[in-house]
Symmetry: C2
């Protein structure tokens, strides 16, 4: 359970250990400990890390679980097409489209 991605994420930003620690408001040695696997962050620190690097705690913890998401109950996830966020109207339209598609698919079989 090492936070293997930290080093990669930090280097992608071109930050030193000190830079990163400063941004988090913790000691350099503390942050360095996270990267090396010598120490692990508290939950608070983990969340700060996820915020700082713009990723999820699951990602930092190396947990990539398959998530299922009902299109009409997306919670806080924003969907995009061509980098443009979908409006509620577009989503309900797409859902209707899917239902019709399925309906036609079934009728064709009968």
């Amino acid at each position: 359970m090492n936070l293997d991605r930290l080093s990669e994420l930090r280097k992608k930003k071109n930050w030193s250990l000190q830079d990163t620690a400063d941004r988090l408001g913790i000691a350099k040695s503390t942050y360095a400990g996270y990267e090396s696997g010598y120490r692990r962050p508290s939950f608070e620190a983990l969340i700060m890390l996820a915020d700082l690097f713009g990723t999820s705690c699951d990602d930092l913890l190396g947990r990539h679980f398959d998530k299922q998401m009902e299109l009409t109950e997306r919670g806080s996830t924003k969907l995009t097409v061509d980098q443009r966020e979908l409006t509620e109207k577009e989503i309900s339209g797409a859902v209707a489209f899917i239902r019709v598609t399925r309906q036609m698919e079934e009728e064709q079989v009968l």
Copy 2:
């Protein structure tokens, strides 16, 4: 930073503290500590909890960060409509539908 959702998730499954602890392979008092906020799980335990309850670590940690997701690059997230998983064909159909919708919207304005 309490794991407030645990109690809710456990009760939804109709499990006792003992049941849940057994499933996790930890002591009842340990699990009870998580729920009450008296103790917190290790990362390993947090992941076991997320696995057991079928949710994310972020969710358990009360971190609901807005995520953006391009429809054609969902990664490991499975989308559903009426509880039924979308096929690739349905997704590309929906994307096409969205694009057409937008196109028509624009033309109408002009």
